[in-house]
Structures are given as C-alpha cells and as structure tokens.
C-alpha cells in the first residue's frame, strides 16, 4: 500500500460512512435491547420494589412454578398457538395454492379481503368479535380466541406461502405431469417438498401471531380463562412484581431462541438462498 498519498480517496470516505453506520446501528440496538435486558436482570433481583443494590436470587422463578394461574394460562397459550398453527397453515396454504395456480374472476377481490384483518387495528377487530360472538351465542372462551387467532394468522400464511409459490412457477408441476404423475402425486412429490420451507416459515409466523396475541384474547377471555399475555397484563395492572419480570424473561428468551434457530436453518425470511442474485 502506498497509502499516504491517497488518504482522502473515496475509500476513506466510505470507511467514515461505515463507521457512522455502525455507531447508529449500535445505538439503535441499545435502544431495542436495553429495556429487555433491564427487565431480565430485575427478574433476578431480590427486592419486590426493584430496589438496588442488586441482590441475586432465583426466588421469582421458583414462585412461578407454584403460580397455578400462570401455569394454566401458559398451557392455554401454547395449546391455542398450536391449534392455530395447524388450522391457519393448512387453510392458508390451500388458498395460496389457488391464487398461485389458477386465474379466476374475483381473485383480486379475494386478495384484497386479506388486508382488513392485518390493517384494521386489533382493538376494532377484537371488540367486533366480542359483540358478534356474544350476540349469536358463540360466547367467549378459548374456542372464540381460536376463531379470532386463525383469522388474523391466515393473511400472513397466504402471503408467505404465496411468495414461495411464486418463486418457482408451474414449470416443475408441468414437468411432473409430463412424466406421468397425477395431480395428487404431483402435489405430494413435487409441489409440497419445494414448498416446504415456505410452509414452515408460515407456520412459525402463525404460531408467533397467536402466542403473542394480546388484544383479541383480552376481549374474548371470560373470567377465569386466560392466556399468558392476558394474565401478564392483569398482573401488570395490579402492580408490577418481579414475578412478571421472570415470566416475561422466559417468554422473550424462548421466542427469540426459536427465531434464531429458525434463522440458522432457513436463512433470513424463511426462504433458503438459491444463489442467483439479481
């Protein structure tokens, strides 16, 4: 390198840019993670009033194990999310297949109808569900929450699976047909395996939508039945305790862990890289 003479070249300026970018992103990551970290740390602090100095303890986690309401709410949440994942993934994938492989009248309208559930604020949808379900006798409860969660997850599944379907086009299926496969064999042995990463991504999405869902569950939860977010919300409103920190920390660690694992397996966005570039 004969560096000295070229100190002010574009490269030097690019380096400055990279540095500034790094600092800015570091600040943002700090902003995003600082409160979460503070919450997790306080879950290990002995004081009920979050007072310092910090005295380490695991008592709040031990309390969780004895808290039957929270345990029941967790079981509800997980069961609900699993049921939601299965139903929303199956129904959404079917709809996505119809969109990707058929042209028909009203397709644009059907596509548009996917938008209300994700664009209308949950507050409105949640209260509307409450009114309707109460009115026609479906009532509140886990079944009502499932109705709501699936409806909110469906659009995401259709979009994610649809993107995957759009990425490979009908040529593979046509090839299978020329080789003598009937429609079901084609679907089982060609479409589904290629589609799998998209379906897995969509399923994860659906699980997360349900597991994180607070607003809908909140309006549809009758007294005595709740999910984890609803239970945490009522605990917060009654006054914070480190127990809330403990359960929240567990949720954060588990959900981030799942996403990180998933990202490792599938690269970012749920679609394995297939080279190409632009």
């Amino acid at each position: 390198m004969n560096g000295g003479a070229q100190a002010v070249t574009p490269r030097a300026r690019r380096d400055t840019g990279t540095w500034l970018a790094g600092i800015w992103l570091a600040l943002i990551l700090g902003f995003l993670y600082l409160p979460i970290a503070a919450m997790a740390v306080m879950a290990f602090n002995e004081s009920v009033l979050y007072e310092l100095p910090f005295k380490p303890t695991t008592i709040w986690f031990e309390r969780l194990a004895e808290n039957e309401r929270l345990i029941r709410a967790s079981v509800n949440s997980i069961g609900l999310a699993l049921a939601n994942t299965v139903i929303a993934t199956v129904l959404g994938t079917m709809a996505a297949l119809a969109f990707a492989r058929y042209t028909f009248r009203g397709k644009t309208l059907l596509r548009l109808l996917l938008f209300p559930p994700i664009t209308i604020p949950w507050l409105i949808i949640g209260t509307a569900m409450l009114v309707m379900f109460f009115w026609i006798g479906i009532g509140r409860g886990l079944h009502a929450m499932l109705l709501g969660h699936v409806a909110l997850s469906l659009p995401y599944v259709v979009v994610v699976v649809g993107a995957r379907l759009a990425s490979f086009g009908p040529a593979l299926e046509e090839a299978a047909a020329t080789l003598g496969a009937n429609p079901w064999q084609t679907f089982r042995r060609v479409t589904l395996p290629v589609l799998a990463p998209g379906v897995v991504a969509a399923a994860l999405f659906a699980f997360a939508v349900s597991f994180d869902q607070f607003v809908i569950s909140y309006f549809l939860a009758p007294p005595g039945v709740s999910t984890l977010p609803v239970e945490i919300y009522s605990a917060i409103r009654k006054g914070f305790t480190p127990e809330v920190n403990a359960v929240s920390s567990i949720i954060i660690v588990v959900s981030m862990g799942v996403v990180l694992l998933f990202a490792r397996l599938y690269r970012f966005g749920g679609v394995p890289s297939e080279g190409g570039g632009r």
Partner: protein, 353 residues
C-alpha cells in the same frame, strides 16, 4: 477530446491481482477496446478509470490531470453500464437531463441539448416514456445519450451490447461507431466478444490475469498475435510446436518441415507456430494442392457445415488442425477422406507460449 494515460496501475482483490502493472495510452478520439475473458481485469480497469476502483499503485491521467484524488462525480466522464442503469423513476428526458441538472445548466439549454442528443440516437418523441416502456435497444440508446449529453472528456462502455440479441447487436455496433465518430469522443469499451472488438475499435488491448498481453490496431493484433493466449482468444488458431532448424525452418508433425521466416536461426529451445484456420487450404489427396510451401497430409475427422463456410477437423499424425474453407466446392469433402492441408509461410506466426 482527451487522452487517457494509465501507468503502472495495480489492484488486488484479496490476494488475487485484478490488475498487475498495467500501462496504456488511449489517444484522442480513439475507440479503444479492452478484450479478455471474465476475470481478466478488463472491467476493473474500466472502473479504475471511472473512479470506482482505487488502484493500489500507479496513476491514471486524463489530459494530464491526475485522477487519483478525484471522486467519480468530478472526473467528467460518461459511462454506459452493462444493463444500462436507467433511473426507473424518471422519464427518458429526465434521465438524459440528469447530468445537466446536477451541473445546474439552465433549463432552456438543457431542453435543447437533451433534444439534440435524443435526435442523435434517433429517439425523438420518446421524451416522456419511462425506461420500463422501452425495448432493450431503445434503453441502450437512452443510456448512450445520457452519457454523452454532458460532453464528457471520456466515454466508458461496460459491455454495452451484451444484453442485446444478435441482430440488434450488429445494428447497434454500426450506430455506436457512427455516433462515436460524429461526437469524436475518446472511448474505452469493455467486451468479451472478439468480433465486436475487431469490427468496432481503432485499437484493442487483450488482457489476461490482470496483465495486458498485447495491444494495437485490430488487424495487427489479429494477424500477428504475440502469444498463444492472444492468438487463441482473438479468433481461432492452429499451433505447431517443434525444434527450430537453420534457415527459418521447424520440424513439424511427422517430421515434416514447416517454413516461417520469423523462426530464429539459432537451434535453441522449442518454438510454437500459429496459423489461422482460414489461411489454410484443403484438397483431396491426389487432387492438385495449392502449391503453398507448407503442407501436411491427413484424414478428415470432422466436418462442420455452416452455410457460407465449412470447417474441417483434420488429423495430421499426432496433431489435429482446423481448416476454415469458403463453401465453394460442389460437395464438401466427407469425413474419412485423405486430404492435403497447405498454407503460406508468411501466414505463419511465431508466438510465445
């Protein structure tokens, strides 16, 4: 009109040298082609002239002005990109006017110059179209107009015709040459298409592994390649390797003597001779041969019929030669026939391995 001088330019990506001590002088108004396989450094050299690549050593001057401290936007160059890089959110007019507007040229003058430039590339009336509404050839012309409208000192073309189909390519080659002559701008242009380089340029440089193997006018480089690589990359060639004899002779395949005035007299190391396929003549054994001084007997092992020409593969002892003939015979020679291949000594070139 400008002169581009490149002296000792070196650039490494990681440990592999992309440019290795490149010296080049591109004259005023000249259309200069950088030719080479992918990875030869031709694009890196073009990007170094543009300012996208900082050389680690060496210098680049345009009209005697050193470039190394000058960022891209102050170098006063015009560049046409491989996929044109037209701004998709701007009309054709705004695309062409972009360079003028960043230079704060008055509106009336801008309009006039843009229109004149669009007329030059035969796109009058397309001002309000978007790039997405244009065919590949039209996009190419817009890109050219955009690069020329600022009257840059040097025009750089990065495989400008690579994305076009063959017919359109031919037509654009002719137009490009015309426009370049008309504007009289010094032009450097990167291509991997040897035919394009031969038909378009005033001079050619052949690059390999970051080095310039040979440069000169197309005819000189084609007729007198200096290395095996140059001979092989620019056109096709038959090579014969053997021990030189006294008096411009070499022992070729099957102990046949081949004549070439360039062969050095001292009987030292082996030499390689190159002969272009179209310089060779072929005749059925027993029929009168051309009478050229160099000739080999062999058997036809392959016939490639291409309409106006016929290409023969002929096995002459342990070497196989390629002969390109005009399709003049009533019937092409068939595979398996015994033939004589002949050529003139002055069509034979000594090349470095």
């Amino acid at each position: 009109m400008s002169v581009v001088e490149i002296q000792g330019v070196t650039k490494r990506f990681g440990t592999t040298p992309a440019l290795d001590d490149v010296h080049l002088r591109i004259e005023e108004g000249e259309l200069f082609a950088l030719l080479g396989p992918s990875g030869s450094g031709k694009t890196t050299l073009l990007r170094a002239i543009a300012g996208f690549v900082d050389p680690e050593a060496g210098s680049i001057h345009i009209d005697g002005d050193p470039m190394h401290d000058l960022p891209v936007h102050r170098r006063d160059i015009g560049m046409v990109f491989q996929h044109y890089a037209l701004f998709p959110h701007m009309s054709v007019f705004d695309n062409v006017a972009f360079g003028l507007s960043v230079r704060h040229v008055a509106r009336a003058e801008t309009a006039e110059r843009v229109r004149a430039m669009l007329a030059l590339v035969q796109l009058d009336g397309f001002e309000e179209r978007r790039p997405g509404q244009l065919s590949g050839g039209q996009q190419q012309r817009v890109a050219l107009a955009r690069a020329l409208v600022t009257r840059p000192r040097v025009l750089l073309l990065d495989e400008p015709l690579g994305a076009l189909d063959k017919r359109l390519r031919r037509q654009m080659q002719i137009e490009l040459r015309q426009i370049q002559r008309e504007v009289g701008i010094t032009t450097v242009f990167v291509t991997h298409d040897q035919e394009e380089a031969l038909t378009l340029s005033d001079r050619i440089a052949i690059l390999d592994a970051g080095r310039i193997v040979q440069s000169g006018p197309p005819q000189a480089v084609y007729e007198r390649p200096r290395t095996v690589f140059a001979a092989d990359f620019l056109g096709d060639a038959n090579f014969f390797t053997g021990r030189p004899q006294a008096g411009g002779r070499m022992l070729g395949p099957g102990g046949k003597e081949l004549l070439c005035a360039e062969i050095p007299g001292d009987a030292g190391a082996e030499v390689t001779l190159a002969v272009r396929p179209e310089k060779m003549r072929i005749a059925r054994a027993g029929e009168p041969a051309s009478g050229d001084a160099n000739h080999l007997e062999g058997t036809v092992t392959g016939v490639l019929y291409a309409g106006s020409t016929v290409t023969y593969r002929v096995a002459c002892g342990e070497v196989e030669v390629t002969v390109l003939e005009q399709n003049r015979e009533a019937a092409p020679i068939a595979q398996g026939e015994a033939v004589t291949v002949s050529w003139r000594p002055d069509h034979t070139v000594v090349v470095e391995p």
